[in-house]
Symmetry: C2
Subunit: 340 residues, 2 copies
DNA sequence: CGGAAGTTGCGAACCGGTTCGACGTTCCCG
DNA sequence: CGGGAACGTCGAACCGGTTCGCAACTTCCG
């Protein structure tokens, strides 16, 4: 492999001159620049990433920490990952993918060894163990998901409170008076998936304000349990006319369940989910839903992270906590409640 | 951040001694080793990855090229990625995730700049444009997917021919005489997804040998087109008693389609898919299927790749092309054909 | 015509590791 | 008791870039 020394020799200049000719950080005569560029092309020179990282303390790599936990719905995570990855490439960065079960050790490893210039954390829990490590790291960090303590990092998340209100309001306006909300499994909540609570509490609050009944249940994220959970719910609450689904697996399982019970949306039951449009298309989900905007969140996180890495933002500029406003995508799965 | 120089100073030895004490590549007295290790702990020393890469020409990073193309089913890819990522970590390697649309440029970039020690290619097409680049790279490569030309790389794939035969045999044994095979969209085939042909041709061959009729169709990989494609198929071929699904999106859409038509498996129609068990659980798919073993394939690819990276295999040892034998997972969606 | 300012390129140092050759000790054995 | 081997440590060189300070050569102006 050609080094910059080879290029310099071929162009008849010193190594430093070759470097400056390529980086443009000092004035170089047109003639010399041409000779250097020719040599680069002829030798097929590409700078060695390790050497450059050593010299500049910049790796042009962003660490992406994605935990694939039991009881969590993996395909939903993929969309965040792609949002992050694509945006990073647009900005000139590569992605180091860390899917270790032990996120804390892995995080320490890649920050301490200086493999990355910054970190994106997905799947952030309320009291995320990775956060203290990230705060004490030399590299900036951006989160997708809202922890209890946001100091020292930039945070991006869907406004789950607003999402909860939106779902309830939508059904309320159509005339529904008894509705059920299907949430993530208990494990996810215990592990600190605060977004489940945020949506649920706001939904309960809105239901109370509007004077409608809202039943809340947790459903599994696995087959066939989730189907049983849904069936149990429908058995136990025959008066329910609307279903709010904040659980991807439940949304994916719902068509089959409704089919088996001979029910159709929206004539028998109105349904509103919370997932991305991409997810809906992939899984053939015919339900209106709150767009969770994973690609947009990933994009925002990387944008801000790169601004910090490149020092476009003053070191003392306060960190941001930014919420994406949820929007309801109408797929025609809601209507007036069936007569009792 | 502490450097090895700081460690050496704190331990009262030279940098080289500190290095040897940590690597164990030369004999070091117990006393000195202890002092060095104490200093490491005290200072929180972690070697700088860039410096080490420069000195050793080893980055301990594997490049993972995953293309997320239009008309391909993203969640299926995720499982290959996780198989690769988890195995890599077990063996001490990190993963550089490359999801660029332009895989060729990206591949050249990461190999030439020496960011990675080896490459895993997913989603390999019959005449994959990335292959010539990979062959001329200094790093070894492993593929998941079978290209036309396998020279210079290690190749791992499901035995799709056997899968096709298995599907046909299974229904034939149950007494089916008219069956349809739903394949990937035309685009996937045109782009070189040879596995579609491999399965289909073997299925046709087996059908001919057994004297049963096999209709073949391509279905879209998007909603709602794929549902229409399935409906069109069932309309056009009322005599069909069995369905073979080599298309993840079609498998995911099938429950809804059958429901809408008032059909149930296996009493009205026998169904066999081709996807992983993990996929079936995630998507609530109740159909028996040929296990596509993405985690196993990813694991095999990384294992062999690391063997080559670490020189455990002679440089002239021939490259391998290894097929995983498909197995049918019975989920009770097949039975004797309904009487005409 | 002399000196200040601007241009252009070079040499050397540095980033933080690894590794080779050499050197001083200690130990064993003839 | 002398010589060679084994052991433990060190200094220096190297990996391949970037960057700082300086010097040579022009150019311009008073």
């Amino acid at each position: 492999m050609a080094t910059i020394g080879d290029v310099a020799q071929a162009a008849g200049v010193s190594r430093s001159t070759a470097s400056y000719a390529l980086s443009g950080k000092r004035a170089i005569s047109a003639e010399v620049r041409r000779r250097v560029e020719d040599a680069v092309r002829e030798l097929g020179y590409t700078p060695n990433a390790g050497a450059r990282a050593l010299a500049t303390s910049q790796t042009m790599v962003i660490g992406l920490l994605a935990q694939f936990l039991e009881d969590e719905f993996a395909p939903a995570m993929l969309q965040y990952m792609l949002g992050v990855s694509n945006t990073a490439r647009e900005l000139g960065y590569d992605i180091l993918l860390v899917s270790d079960a032990d996120g804390t050790r892995a995080l320490r490893r890649i920050t301490d060894s200086r493999m990355v210039d910054g970190i994106v954390l997905l799947n952030v829990a309320e009291r995320d163990e990775r956060l203290p490590i990230l705060r004490s790291a030399a590299q900036p960090g951006a989160l997708v998901g809202l922890p209890a303590d946001c100091t020292g990092v930039d945070v991006f998340d869907l406004d789950f409170e607003e999402a909860g209100r939106l779902m309830v309001d939508h059904l309320h306006r159509l005339g529904h008076r008894e509705v059920a909300l299907v949430s993530q499994p208990e494990h996810v909540i215990e592990r600190g998936g605060a977004y489940v609570w945020r949506l649920q509490n706001a939904a309960l609050e809105a239901a109370r304000a509007r004077g409608i009944t809202l039943h809340t249940v947790s459903a599994s994220s696995h087959q066939p349990d989730v189907g049983q959970d849904l069936n149990a719910l429908l058995d136990a609450r025959p008066g329910v006319t609307g279903l709010l689904i904040n659980n991807e697996a439940a949304a994916a399982a719902l068509p089959t369940v409704l089919h088996q019970r001979g029910l159709t949306a929206p004539s028998d039951l109105s349904v509103v989910g919370r997932y991305s449009d991409e997810f809906a298309r992939t899984f053939s989900l015919p339900y209106s839903s709150i767009e969770s905007a994973p690609d947009r969140l990933g994009r925002m996180a990387v944008r801000q992270l790169v601004r910090r890495i490149e020092g476009d933002v003053a070191a003392d500029e306060p960190h941001v906590v930014r919420f994406v406003t949820p929007e309801l995508v109408d797929r025609g799965s809601t209507g007036v409640p069936r007569p009792a």
